[in-house]
Structures are given as structure tokens and as C-alpha cells.
Symmetry: C2
Subunit: 580 residues, 2 copies
Amino acid sequence: MQGYVTPAVMAFSKDCHRMEIDRIVRVDMTTGAITEETAPAPYRFLGGRALTSRMLLDETDARVHPLSREAKLFIAPGLLGGTAITTSGRTSFGFKSPLTGGTKEANVGGLLGSKLARLGIKALVIAGASDDGWKRLDIDVSGVRLDSAASLAGRSNYDLHRELVGDATRNRCAATIGPAGEYRLASASVAVTDPEGRPTRHAARGGPGAVMGAKGLKAIVVDDAGAPAVLAGARKEEFRKEVTKFSKMVIEDPRTANLSKTGTAGVVKFVNRENIQSMPTRNHRLGTWDQADTISGQQIDALSQERGGKMLPCMAGCVVKCAILFNDAQGNHVTTAFEFETIALLGSNLEIGPADLVAELDRLCDDIGLDTIEVGNAVGVAMEAGVLPWGDWEGTKKLLEAIRDGSPLGRIIGNGTVHVAKTYGIDRVPAVKGQGLPAWEPRTLKGMGITYSTSPQGADHTAGMVTARGATVDTLVKQSRHEQLVMMAIDSAGVCQFSNALPGDIATFVNNRFDVEWNDESVLAMARDGIDAEREFNRRAGFTKDDDRLPAWMRDEALPLPDGPSAFDIADSELDRVWE
Amino acid sequence: MQGYVTPAVMAFSKDCHRMEIDRIVRVDMTTGAITEETAPAPYRFLGGRALTSRMLLDETDARVHPLSREAKLFIAPGLLGGTAITTSGRTSFGFKSPLTGGTKEANVGGLLGSKLARLGIKALVIAGASDDGWKRLDIDVSGVRLDSAASLAGRSNYDLHRELVGDATRNRCAATIGPAGEYRLASASVAVTDPEGRPTRHAARGGPGAVMGAKGLKAIVVDDAGAPAVLAGARKEEFRKEVTKFSKMVIEDPRTANLSKTGTAGVVKFVNRENIQSMPTRNHRLGTWDQADTISGQQIDALSQERGGKMLPCMAGCVVKCAILFNDAQGNHVTTAFEFETIALLGSNLEIGPADLVAELDRLCDDIGLDTIEVGNAVGVAMEAGVLPWGDWEGTKKLLEAIRDGSPLGRIIGNGTVHVAKTYGIDRVPAVKGQGLPAWEPRTLKGMGITYSTSPQGADHTAGMVTARGATVDTLVKQSRHEQLVMMAIDSAGVCQFSNALPGDIATFVNNRFDVEWNDESVLAMARDGIDAEREFNRRAGFTKDDDRLPAWMRDEALPLPDGPSAFDIADSELDRVWE
């Protein structure tokens, strides 16, 4: 056993509250050394994405190979992580992406963020690479330990979380890689335990699992038993009052009601309409699928009512509860967090339905440790290349099992959309900055195209949703910029986008927690610094303006809207205005 | 049949000489249209690489996908092509590379260049993409015809050239793609007929075969029967005198004597020495191989003498004759143009020997249509990834056959070094700008590292050989720049680097041919323009200074020379000086 006992934690008595989340814990996988420092002053008001993106820029050479010993993986709860604020338990994974070659932050719900925060950990930094096999990292009040994980090697996520966490979700959770991460595949995710002990929450986009795999780290197990609660705030009473008020507001938000009933899948019928056409079909050739009703939130809800399915929160204290738990006809669990993006990319995009079939694919992705968006796009390109026919569910399952087995074809698919296209000489590639397109259609919802193009993250619907139609280009440009800043703020606070937290809400919480005087502008300025750090990393990594573009075919292939064909037609110069 | 009759050619009587090589013939593979124009004035003194790189920049958007309909393939003999100057029959293939994503020129010996020139063709431009299956292009004095090549589809190069050319090499030759090109693999070559009718000359680097494949063009067949000879020059007598003088000089050059005896393979023993260590071994981990004698030029020469092997020219009139024709123990032909780079990358780099085994791999690459350097590196990385063991000749043969079959593993390997590394999550990648490293070792022959880093072509030993040792960095930088310019001049004149033509030699020929007054400076200025065009294309394609770098591990992993460890240690700022 390598490790040490952390005096900082032991100094707290059981009923004491933690003052600051300020431990930066570093694990050198090469030497096994574990060290700790107090976060320096410039990082005090950073958390989540703003922190991981900043540390990535500050500590690593943007030109290193993302899977090299010199690369690092940064894991951080949000600035408000560990508090009672609803949805505030998200965790950011920051790294140089093996998928995009640029900056990357993938954040995830589940139990990890609040437990790290309760242990006072502001950031966990994984550096180096193990030279003697797979390792596990155990973190609790007694310290941080790095041990052999030989017995975990080769195992998939459901099995892993059952062993590592089981029913002990009150205090324990794990962040693991499946076979995909072990193979260092660019679409490999990190699976985080959900409140029922399952590996259904994934830091998925951009390959965090591949980076963790390259370090030789199979699992991180966190146990916060005995850790002090996080201090409610410097202005304790105000903070508590605002927490209650915010939860109430989220509950009363009509958007929440929809999410609580049909999850993100509730949008399927809406976006499949002929005047939206945002349901990717046949590798994004079409925007509507005539069988979309079979994979709609309404249909899933109807099945759930028959089969004992339900809506779950992904973390303690979340009042949204958008996660669909989906059972089969016998009432056995198939998957949890059955999301719209998964349903679109592994469903309509491949012409696969009904919901039962897509749910099985979702479970396989969770188990193997894969980003469903990236894999859905990758399989779509494989279908385009003739590797398997459209709608071939059995074939798609075999591809996923091939990824689990590490076969040549599995590795091709598991390395993502661009890799499949390159392998089969396909020039029509649904990706921006190397990352596969989410479902939201940039040719009909052009603001999404602006976000996909200009986000430092590559094509990412969570980077800034702009679904307005009919707005002027100037409005869309400004809205994309604003929403990208808001999302940076939300991802840095560590709250969920479905809380619909506004910059002002974040400012209020920060003020009461830290006894400062932030306002909307302070929050947006922090967000802009975060975006700038990400853009600077990309610049150093060799990105140019030409990387802030959608694939050319989205300008040529129009979708047939009732009021005329609609292609992406926002000028490059307008895209360049987003950050200028 | 689509096509037309070319009046420009028909106007020549049989005993007339062609005045200018000035036809630019364009084939639109989408529509089948074939058009022709006279080369505009600015192109008059450009040929070969300078011409294809210029046209690539002038006519195509650097951001297009290299395998898209919008991409183009430019094929051009040299400025001195078709004349009696020894070695002047080389042909340049220019395109945006699917391997590097940047500018690319791959030039090739064989029979193509002089026949194109005799038909007056300065450049052949292939645009668009066939929508109705494989095509062949036939070019002769009667015109240019595009026809279905359904009967050629799926066939390999030896078989193809036997059918398309056979013994009729006096007038006919072909340029074809094998299965690798049909699959649009990034290491796919274009095979050009040698004087014995075999497909052993390859425009190989950077994937010209993939681009030709993406256009749907399986074969180009050129027949110059009835074409007028190319005019010896405006100053006819002086030109002829210089041709004779130059041939004599090449024959008397001591470097030629070595090449005529043991080909490029003659250097194996020399570069394998412990104070050179330029024989890549075990995926470039070592620079010497203890069994290198079994694949040396001397050993091959000894075997040849027993087996009826011989040294051949690759084109009519070449006095160097560096091509090794290698037979098996029964005296049956195995391969021709058994080159040092092939022997190093498919031999020592994989720990495969003796020569017979490597020769079989060379033949397979020629037959399938593959760049031996790229494939040797790709298999080396696959061995590093554990896909097959070091030294596994049977396994390597199976990999090549897998490429022929288009299996998933075959496509992984056939897409080159970086692709294999990406597929298997390997961060130690022997490539610059996406192109696999040639044999010449940048850590001991640091001038080669400067060329590999700064050539717009990616890692390319033919871009500018600088093998000096012990020189100052300043000297090496200047020498690399100069040699890169000289190679641009040589590749543009269309002569072979083994003619050792100096800029002054090229100036003399140009002067007598065109009645102008060039000197060394004119030739180097033309070359600099060519390099600038290539660098500008790369800039537009998104390349930055950081692409002008060797892989980082070449700075960390030193080779153990007798006078101490030797890593690549030329500062980035010095690399940037090459073109500033």
C-alpha cells in the first residue's frame, strides 16, 4: 500500500463544519507518491470546469500527447459542491482530449462531487502513469491510498460498482473505467455511481476514460464516512434561506415538471416535428424519423408505468429527478439515465427502435464505459461505410461487444466518429473539432450550430443551448456567447443545467457562502476567464479559426423544412465574432 | 465511352518535334467531362512538384476533406520531362494528403513521366468523383477517354499491369491503384509500370492511391505510340551536348557506382554502425540491429549473383540503374526496386530478416498498392501495441493480406502509423505531420531531424538529405534549408535525386531548352516559391509552427552512441529559422 494519512481531515471533529474546500490532492501514478497542497489564492473562487480548464492550462503543455505520462487528469467538484444547494453535486473531469486534441471538460452527476467536497478536496490531480499494472485509488477521512487493482482488471462497470460500492451508497461511490477505458479508446467514459449503486452516470465526452486508462487507474473509490459537513456559508442563515428558495423555484419551474415526468426523452416528439427536424436520422441525413414515437419519452413513460420504471435523482438532494429508470417487460432493470441524446444517436440516427432495443444499447455503453453520443455517431458512419445495414440492432450490439473484447473492429468504433470515417475513407463526417455531433440540429436550430462551432469543447449541446428560431444572426451570435458563458458558470459552480440557475443565483450563493459581493457580471467574468483559458489551450495545441467550423456538408445538404430547404448558412465571419 | 479527340496532338506530323509541353488536361470524374487548356504563362517554367504544389494551392480550398469530391489530384511530369536528360522521367502526384491533412507531392520513376510529356501533357488534373463505379482513363495520340473499369475492380497491381501493359512497355504504361487505394487507405500508393512491365514504381507517400480511389479512378493507361519526340531545346546543339556531358558525369560519380552495384540497400551496413545508428530497429527504439547483415545490400548482391538477380534502370535512359531485381532461390522474380527504406522499415524496424523475407513483404506492398515506409512504421506500432510479436514475419504477411481483404485490422494498418497508434492508444508515435518516419535517424543525423520537422511534406527523407555529423546547429539549419530547396528543384525538373543534379545543371538545361538565362539563383528562387506555396497551403489547412516538430519522445529517448547518448536536441527556435 502506498499512501498517507491526511492531518487536515483528522483535525475536524465530527460535528464541526468544513470551512473551505481547499485540498489539492496529487497522485503521481509513476512513483506512487501522493501529495497535498492548499489551493493557492487565485483558485479560491474557481471550481468545476473553470478550475479544471485553468489547471490544465497552467500545469500542462498543450502539445503533449493526451495519453502520455506527461498528460494529467483533473477531477474537481464545483465551487458550490458539497453544499445543500439542489443539483450541486456535479463533478468536472478536465484533460487534454484524445478525441479532439484540445481542452476538454466532461462533467457528471452521481455521488462523486459532494463526497469529494465533504472530504475537502477541491481538485484531484492524476499525473504520470503506472508501470506495474492497474491501480485503484481509495479516498476517505483516513487518507488517500493507491493500491494494486489487479483483481479489477478487465471488468465492466456494472460488475465493478456492485463490488466497490454495492448498497453502501450513503457514504461510498466509485468512478471507474470499463474495458473501453482500459483500451484507451477515445470515446471511453468514466462511470460514476448513481444513488442506487449503479454505474449509470458518465463523464463521457472527449475520452476521460482513455486518459484515466493511460494512467493505469482503474477505479477511484471515495468514502466520506466521518467527514464533516460542508459549511453552509459565511452568512449561514442567508445561505440556508437561499437554498430553500432555490429548490422551491426549481420545483415550480414548468421545465422541471416535464423533466420529472419524461426526462430529457420528453423532447423526442417535439424535435421530430417537420418544422424542427432535430431528430438525427440515418447518420444525420434526415431530421425526422417516422418511427420516432417508438422511442419517445411518452412511450417510455407508458412502458415504465406498466413495468415499475421510475424517475430518479442522480444525486442526493436533487429535486429535478430527470433520470429515467427503465425496466424490461419482466420488470428487470435495463438502464438508468436513459437520455434524449442516447435515444437519438443510438436510436433514430441508426434507425433503431423501439425503446427496449435502444435501452439495451444504453446499458451496454454504460457497462463497457462509452460515450453514447460518440458511439452513436461512430456506428452511424460505420453504417454509412457499409460495415452493417441501417437499423441493424443485432449488428450494433455485436459492435459494442467487439469494443468490450478489444477486437480490431471494436477499437475502430470505440475511437469515435472521425476515426471510423478515417478508417473507411468516408469524407462526410458528423463532427466538430473531432467530436461527434449531438442530436440538436444545427441546420434548423442554427444557434446550436454557432455553439457547436465555437465552443472550445467541440460539438457539445451542453456548451450552450440556443434553440431560438427566426432570430437574426446577430441575436444568435450574442445568445450563443451568453449561453456558453452561463454554461461555463453552471459547470463551474457544479450545479446541473436543469436547475436553470442564472448567473444571479450563482452570485447569491457565492456571496453568502464566502462573504463576498459578486453580481451577474462577476459570474460572467469568471466564466469568460474560463472560456479564455480553454481557447488559449486550444491555440497552444494548434487550433485555428478553421477549427471553429461545422463540417462543410452541413452547408450543402439542406433539410426539407415546410418553409423551404434549410442548411447551415451562418457566415464564418459571424462565427468568429462570438469570441472576438 | 466518354472523351474527345485532341486536335493539338493530331496537328503534329510523325517526324515533327513537340515545341512545348503545355497541355493541361482536366478530367471531371463526376460528369465524365474531359477538357483541355494551354498552360497559362505563370506555369510555363514550372513542372513536377513546383507545378502540382502551385496548382493545388491555386485551385483547391486547403480545408476540403482530402477524399471529397472537391479535392483534386494533379499529375505532372517534370519541367525537363520527356527529354533525353538521364533520369528525367519522374512524375509528380500532388494532392491534399489524407495522411497528413496538408500539401503533398509524391514523385515516382517508371515509364509514366516521359510518355505524358511526349503527349504534351504538362498536367493531368483529376477532379470530382465517379458516381457509377470504377473508371479507367486512357490517354494516347487520339485523345483522352474515360471508360468503365468494372472488370478491373478489386484487382491487385501485378495482375493489373500484366493486363494493361504486358510486354508493350515501349509505348505503354499504367498508373494504377491496388485494393488499398480502392479502400481509400491513407498509405495507399499509385503503382507505375517499370521497364519490365511490372508495378514496382510507386508514388507512395501520403496516400495518392487513396485520393485516386476516392475519385473512382482505378487506372490510367498511357500510350505514346505515334507521339512526336519532345523538342531537344531551343538551343538544340547545346542541349544535346549538355545531355551527353551530364550522363557522363553521372556515370563517373562515385556515388553512382555504389548505387549501380547494390542499390540504395548498399547503405545498410554503413548506417547500422554503432557511431551512426540509423538502422531503425524495434519501432525506432534502437538504431542498430544485430542481424542487419542479413538484409544488407552486399548480402542481396551476393544472393543476386547466385539467382540471376540484376540491377535495372526504372526508366529509359537512366544511367544509374539503382533498382535491385530480386529473385528467390529458384530464380523466380520476387520484387524489383528493393529499396533501403523498405528494407529498414519492413526489416530491422520489425526485426524481420533475412532479405528473402523482407523481399516478399515488399512484393506484397507493391501488389496491394502500399507505401512501404508507412506500412513498416504502422506494423511497428502494432507490434508495440502487442497486436503481433516482434520479428513475426508470418503475422506481418497476414496483416498485409488483411489490408488486401479490407478487414477491420487491415484498414487499421493500412491507414498508417498515426492511425494504428490512435486505434491502440499508443502515445509513442514515429511520425511528423502525421507521416511515418523514414529510416534516416534524426537523433544521430540531426540534420535529417531538421528536414523531417520543417519539410511541408512531413517526415520525408527525400525532402532534403542532411547527413553531416558534428556540424554546428547553424550549419545544419542552413544545410537543411538549402537541401530542401535543391530537392524541390530536382523534383520540379523531374530528374532523379540520384543524378545528383545541381541547381546549375538544371539552369543549364532550362536555358538551352527554353532559350532563357537562368542561373543557380533562378533555380533556387523557383524552388523557394514552390516551398512557399506548400507552406501556405499547410497554413490554410490549419498547420502551425507546432507541426514543424519531431515527436517529443525523440528528445527524451537517446541512442547510445560511443561518445555518449544522443537525442534530438535542436531547439524549436532553430527549427523555426529554416523558413524565416
